[in-house]
């Protein structure tokens, strides 16, 4: 009985997770082109130029892990190796967080963000230390002329 529940959750997780992931990647690629003119750098020092303002901008995203990904990850943990199902999850979260930070910067009228940092956290409280969902926060200093 329990196995049937696990199996159906896994199948559901797989199909809905796949659809959500594909749509998300399509949307990410599209918006990355739209925000291409806002440049992001890791550089700590101000580039030469006349900068009027330097507000802090940030973008935050939380994505839930589906049962399929969790199952594969759990099995992978026994043998080791690349965790492909979580790689795509984190890739989505990072790119989405950067895009949201860029959206924030655009609303400030900035063309460039420097000193960009990314923070990743897993939200697992009260869930047996399993990764329930991941949070990625991207932040940096926007430069406004």
């Amino acid at each position: 009985m329990e196995l049937i529940v696990i199996a159906s959750l896994t199948v559901l997780g797989y199909f809905f997770g796949r659809i959500a992931e594909r749509k998300h990647f399509e949307s990410i690629r599209l918006r990355e082109i739209q925000y291409k003119n806002i440049l992001v750098f890791n550089e700590r020092h101000l580039p030469p130029g006349q900068w009027q303002k330097g507000p802090l901008v940030g973008g935050n995203v939380v994505i839930s892990v589906d049962y399929f990904k969790r199952l594969v990850a759990g099995l992978r943990a026994l043998f080791g190796g690349r965790l492909a199902t979580y790689e795509s999850l984190l890739e989505r979260a990072r790119r989405e967080a950067i895009l949201r930070m860029k959206a924030d910067a655009r609303s400030c009228g900035a063309q460039m963000i420097i000193n960009v940092r990314l923070e990743t956290a897993s939200i697992s409280k009260g869930n047996n230390d399993q990764i329930g969902s991941i949070e990625v926060y991207a932040y940096g200093t926007a430069l406004v002329t």
Partner: protein, 288 residues
Amino acid sequence: MSYENPQQPEGINVSDEHPVRDLFVLLSAVILSVVVLVVLLSSIASWLAQYVPFSTEQRLAKVIGIEAMFESDPAQDSTPEIQVQAREAYVLELGRQLIERAGIDADMSITVHYKPSATVNAFATLGGHVVMFDGLISRLPNENALAMVLAHEIGHIKLRHPVVAMSRGLTVSLALGSFLGITDNTFTGRIVEWIGYSSSLSYSRDQEREADAFASQLLINHYGHLNGAEDLFAAFQEVYDRSSPGSRLPSLDFLSTHPGLAERIDELREKADALGASGTPVPLPWAQ
């Protein structure tokens, strides 16, 4: 120097390996390793169990309090008192004759218990106890079928099945339990537990086959033929049919502790054919 933001090509951070393929590779690897582990541990455990002296097994049975399992319980007992005494004496006497015929080791002792409850069952357990329920006895049409049950359970004890099964069971559940303890993923734990449990079931079916083979040999020695023994399985089939009327579902042999009834009947018939001898089953005093 010029700073720029080039578009990163896709597929650098994400591997294009199909996740379902990944799952199946991992799952097969887990199944294979758990099955190998369970088989290995079970063989070691049952090999060691045969060296447990029978007296130790009896002491263990006492510590566990196994006798409480077949003490008479008036609330559950459904057979009239007069009938109880007659049947109990009959079953115990038949048991005594069969145990004598089976030629058990000097340090071993088998105790047959009669339980006047409606449960359709009989079992052998630690400490050489054989428990016969009235629910099964009352369904048997002749003494030979009753002897088949008794001989089957005596076979379990003579072949040390209860202690071997306990040894295996404890070892496997300890191993699976420790795995559940160290894994931080409950899904993986459940799956490993299930695989381990399913692969250890075949051992109990092997034991049933051995006990059946022992029982039919004992019946040949006692009665000189196997007629009537098959009626035991017919009685089980009847109970099975009644509990799920109309269902012709094939019993899932893989998921069951006992081999299928059809398989057990076939084996008995084969043996009877090879023997060639036949006779009339002994009637039971209470059966019409």
